[in-house]
């Protein structure tokens, strides 16, 4: 059978970046009824591409044993609630979200509690997602604006080993690629537990590449307990055009969500029956978030060079009200009129304008019949963030205290040089040098607060006087510095499918402006990472098999650890992580199995104590089948599919030498498709395990006792109980018209 021109493009592309395109090959081959090609070696192609090759694609060669390119493929059958949950396919990754449907996922990776993204660099089709100077935490990364069905692949590079990785690549990077290989129109309704409704419409016009698509989503739910409702609307669209060697794309995204948050529950209150597992203390907690983003990129691919340029702009609004400590922190101060506890409800707000660009030129040549290449790249990003944090009176939402009010301008410019050298047929060297310049301009609009000034009126905020007399209530702080970050990897092999990979690199995370002083010279936290491992890639018993095992070690100069009084991560001392992982994935046209187990040990440098909240053991299994049944209706085959995802997280260390509870959940989905129609049933948390997403030990006083509680106690955020959904999908278009027809090639 002849391959379609589009499939041909993929296949040729993949001759160059085979690793990235392994999944694409499988998908393209499956669509064409061919036996899927093998995923190729980590070392990449050993021979120069044919002269007529037309190379298109965004993939990059791997940078370590922990660099995985994940094509979602048939594992799309495994139930997931968001694009963030796709990260669970990456070795060592655990995702939790107990703070609301639109709250950024809490990410745990290789000993890092990345909270809302501080330690993991997120990008979508090349656009960075982490938000510097965000009031809810430096590097806040919310991926809920992505429609998960549009995520075709995900590259997770664990560790800072690639000079292209930028700010926040501490534990690594997660790069989402949005495409829609299933052409035609698809309209889906999903409804079920807790009055949840979701309508999804996807469109990939026939005749255009998978990079051209549109998708809209409307969703609402009452949520799985008190104060967990949400309403969300999302639109993702991209056009990809080709002209000769030029590929261009325009991406547009729009998203808004309003969600309620239940917050934390004290375990002693739950055990005593004073509050339910899925209840809330404070029903004023919640958030409103919106994001609007456009991006344009150009890519010129020729035999000896690849040139890329991209520019983006986004507007974001964020407001979050949360209360971790009840009524604890509002103690009487000498500069306040007498008051009782007014409550610790935090009201964080930010308005952000984000513009940026990246450009690169990769030049290739052939030496000793082996491809050698070098890349120069530049990156620039500017975030203007207007942020405030106030405290609100309990139940009335009236602000009574301003914690801070900042106008932040954060610029990050970077230059990098990256080379790929193949001195021997069994040796590949990849690496280079990256230099990041961080520059901060911070206008503190409330520079004098919380101090006694003689003669000042009680309860005054943002004072225009200090102990030396009159002063302006505002103060400007500027700071900047350059982080030099060498990064490299060595690949030896493959022999019988096994490649040895060694990687090392320095990374940096920009500093939180809240902690920056004027003229601070190094406004970033340095990171040193090492990794060594083996990767096995071969076809075994008809399955394309990839397996890897590795050891890693990462040191962070100044870490950020969760602080309940701020509702976010705050500055701590240096930390070191080390551990090991094993992972495997086996795939053919109708079966897809993935599993990984990771051990991580994270300790503080100063006293050797464990870093709290970091899970030491994380295990995940994903499995999916998608196969025609032997029966036909009106000549059309019925295709059945099923997926299962199993998560295990060992008890996490908590402050005060305690351990949390383990997490064990099973999610399943079964479905069948006939012609244009597809029906599925989803069970998330199949066995209805009652578990806590987040577990914390800290002090709070939710006034659930007769007298204030002022010592640390166990708190948790509830994970969702069993949820059942029915999913009905209508498919339109040429591909849908052929689905299951006798003329369609067997799967």
């Amino acid at each position: 059978m002849e391959a379609s021109p589009r499939a041909h493009t993929h296949l040729v592309t993949c001759r160059f970046y085979r690793h990235f395109c392994a999944g694409l090959l499988l998908r393209s081959a499956a669509a064409l009824g061919q036996t899927p090609a093998l995923p190729t070696t980590l070392a990449g192609p050993l021979e120069a591409p044919p002269e007529e090759a037309v190379v298109r694609g965004r993939g990059t060669p791997p940078r370590g044993a922990g660099d995985v390119n994940i094509t979602v493929g048939n594992l799309a059958q495994v139930p997931r609630s968001s694009a963030g949950e796709l990260l669970r396919l990456a070795p060592g990754m655990f995702i939790a979200n107990g703070l609301g449907e639109g709250h950024a996922d809490q990410v745990f990776l290789r000993g890092f509690d990345a909270r809302s993204g501080q330690d993991l660099e997120f990008s979508v089709n090349g656009v960075p997602i982490n938000e510097p100077a965000h009031p809810h935490g430096q590097g806040y990364a919310d991926t809920h604006f992505l429609i998960p069905e549009l995520v075709e692949s995900l590259r997770v590079l664990e560790g800072p080993f690639d000079p292209r990785q930028g700010d926040f690549a501490v534990a690594g990077s997660a790069q989402y690629t949005l495409r829609l290989p299933a052409r035609g129109a698809h309209i889906q309704y999903r409804g079920g537990s807790f009055n949840t409704h979701r309508v999804l419409a996807l469109w990939g016009p026939d005749g255009e590449s998978a990079g051209t698509f549109g998708g809209v989503e409307l969703a609402s739910s009452e949520g799985y307990g008190q104060n967990r409702s949400y309403e969300r609307a999302t639109a993702n669209a991209q056009y990809e055009g080709h002209a000769g060697s030029l590929t261009w794309r325009v991406l547009a995204m729009s998203y808004a969500v309003r969600y309620r948050s239940a917050g934390v529950i004290r375990e002693d209150d739950y055990r005593a029956g004073r509050i339910g597992f899925y209840d809330t203390y404070d029903s004023t907690q919640g958030s409103e978030v919106s994001r609007h983003l456009v991006s344009a990129d150009l890519e010129s691919t020729r035999e000896s060079s690849v040139l890329r340029a991209q520019a983006w702009a986004s507007l974001r609004n964020f407001r979050l009200r949360e209360n971790f400590t009840g009524s604890l922190l509002d103690v009487q101060q000498p500069y306040q009129s007498p008051h009782a506890q007014r409550g610790d409800l935090i009201d964080q707000a930010a308005s952000t304008v984000d513009v940026g660009m990246r450009a690169s030129a990769r030049l290739r040549t052939t030496w000793q019949s082996r491809v050698q290449s070098v890349e120069f790249g530049a990156y620039g990003r500017h975030n203007a963030v207007d942020s405030t944090q106030q405290r609100l009176r309990a139940t009335t939402d009236v602000p009574y205290l301003t914690d801070y009010s900042l106008g932040n301008s954060v610029s990050n410019l970077a230059l990098y040089l990256d080379a790929e050298l193949r001195p021997l047929s069994w040796l590949v060297l990849r690496g280079g040098l990256r230099a990041d310049l961080f520059q901060y301009d911070i206008l503190d609009r409330c520079a004098v607060r919380g101090v006694t000034v003689r003669g000042a009126p009680l309860d005054a905020e943002c004072l225009s006087a200090d102990r030396a007399g009159y002063r302006s209530p505002t103060e400007r702080r500027t700071s900047g510095g350059v982080a030099w970050q060498p990064r490299g990897a060595v690949f030896v092999g493959p022999w019988k499918g096994v490649t040895v990979a060694l990687s090392a690199g320095l990374g940096a995370r920009s500093a939180d402006p809240v902690y920056l002083g004027n003229d601070q010279q190094l406004p970033f936290s340095p990171i040193t990472a090492l990794e060594g491992g083996l990767v096995f890639e071969r076809r075994v018993a008809g399955l394309a098999l990839t397996a890897r095992g590795l050891y890693y070690r990462t040191h962070v100069g100044q870490d950020l650890i969760f602080n309940e009084t701020e509702g976010r991560n705050t500055l701590a001392s240096g930390t070191t992580r080390q551990g090991a992982l094993v992972a495997a994935r086996a795939t053919n046209a109708w079966l897809d199995l993935s599993a990984h187990v990771t051990y991580a040990r994270a300790t503080f440098d100063d006293d050797g104590n464990l870093v709290p909240y970091v899970p030491e053991w994380v295990a995940r299994f994903d499995g999916a089948v998608n196969h025609p049944l032997p029966w036909r209706i009106r000549g059309r085959a019925i295709t059945a599919s099923a997926g299962v995802g199993i998560t295990f997280v060992a008890p996490r260390p908590l402050p005060f030498s305690e351990r949390g509870e383990s997490i064990f959940t099973v999610d399943t989905q079964v479905g069948a498709r006939w012609a244009y129609y597809e029906l599925g049933f989803v069970a998330q948390n199949l066995f209805d395990a009652q578990y806590a997403w987040g577990q914390y030990n800290f002090t709070s006083d939710f006034q659930s006792r007769d007298y204030p509680t002022l010592v640390p106690a166990r708190h948790f955020t509830a994970g969702p109980p069993r949820q059942l959904f029915m999913v009905f999908t209508l498919h339109f278009g040429a591909a849908a018209a052929r689905h299951g027809a006798p003329t369609e090639p067997p799967r």
Binding site: P334, G608, Y707, V711
Partner: protein, 268 residues
């Protein structure tokens, strides 16, 4: 992976799992309270700084909540006058912010139940609910007064007895009630109910016992009971109130740090 490889991998990973602490530990402990140690068969009699000999027939206190704090207790200045002048000239004292002049400190243990204690009974009695906290050293304690019904009749402390001086014998009774009348100008009720900075150099440990002894012998220092005799007897006793000098002295002295003696025993 063959068996040898598996064993090798486990051996490599196993040493990483040593040591399992994130710092201090949470603990629970018993709480016991009583009056001062003495012969319970004899009435509690003591003499005030004004020369009044007091015999108490009733002394009850609503004890709890209690908190142990890392805050250092206030100490009197024991420097010689010359040294104090020189040092204060060279290094002036700083003004302190925070909760009153004590600062906020950090609470490491708590007793969040309230119990009625018979201050005249020297036998330690376990308080229901006990206490909890972390195993970090505390330097001071805080007792927060809340009113209590029952025998205390809506007061935080209730007392009765006889005051004798020279040939005068004045039977009296009264109570400490935490309400607006105890709030000083510019203060708050929350501040008024707290007795902070009670010396308590203890480290809570799991399974131990926090012991609180309550000493009423200073409750009437500074009081002149003759003022009470100008009033009228009710049920055979003169009643003091915050408006007379005895009531004002009691208001202050019953909330003094010296009332509380706090120790911790690692075993119950």
């Amino acid at each position: 992976m063959n068996r040898r490889s598996l064993v090798l991998a486990l051996l490599l990973v196993a040493p990483l799992g040593c040591g399992d602490t994130t710092g201090s530990q949470r603990v629970t402990f018993a709480v016991e309270a009583a009056g001062i140690a003495r012969d319970a068969t004899q009435p509690l009699t003591f003499t005030t700084d004004q020369g009044w000999t007091i015999t108490l027939t009733e002394a009850r206190m609503a004890l709890g909540p209690l908190y142990l704090n890392t805050l250092r207790p206030l100490e009197s200045d024991r420097r010689s006058p010359l040294r104090r002048h020189i040092e204060d000239f060279l290094i002036p004292s700083a003004w302190a912010d925070g909760e009153s002049h004590l600062g906020a400190g950090r609470i490491v243990a708590q007793v969040t139940t309230q119990s009625e204690i018979d201050v005249l009974d020297p036998t330690l009695t376990a308080l229901p609910g006990g206490g909890d906290g972390i195993d970090e050293a505390a330097l001071t304690a805080e007792a927060w007064f809340f009113n209590r019904d029952g025998a205390l009749g809506g007061a935080a402390v209730r007392v009765a007895g006889t005051a004798r001086k020279d040939d005068q014998e004045i039977p009296f009774a009264g109570a400490l009630v935490i309400d607006a009348s105890v709030v000083s100008t510019g203060g708050s009720l929350d501040e008024a109910r707290k007795v902070r900075g009670i010396p308590a150099s203890v480290t809570p440990t799991e399974g131990g016992a926090l012991r609180v002894r309550l000493d009423p012998r200073g409750w009437f220092d500074g009081a002149d009971f003759r003022e009470l005799a100008l009033g009228t007897l009710r049920d055979g006793r003169y009643r003091f109130t915050p408006l007379d000098n005895v009531g004002r002295a009691f208001l202050s002295r019953s909330r003094a740090r010296a009332v509380f003696a706090i120790t911790f025993s690692p075993t119950r």
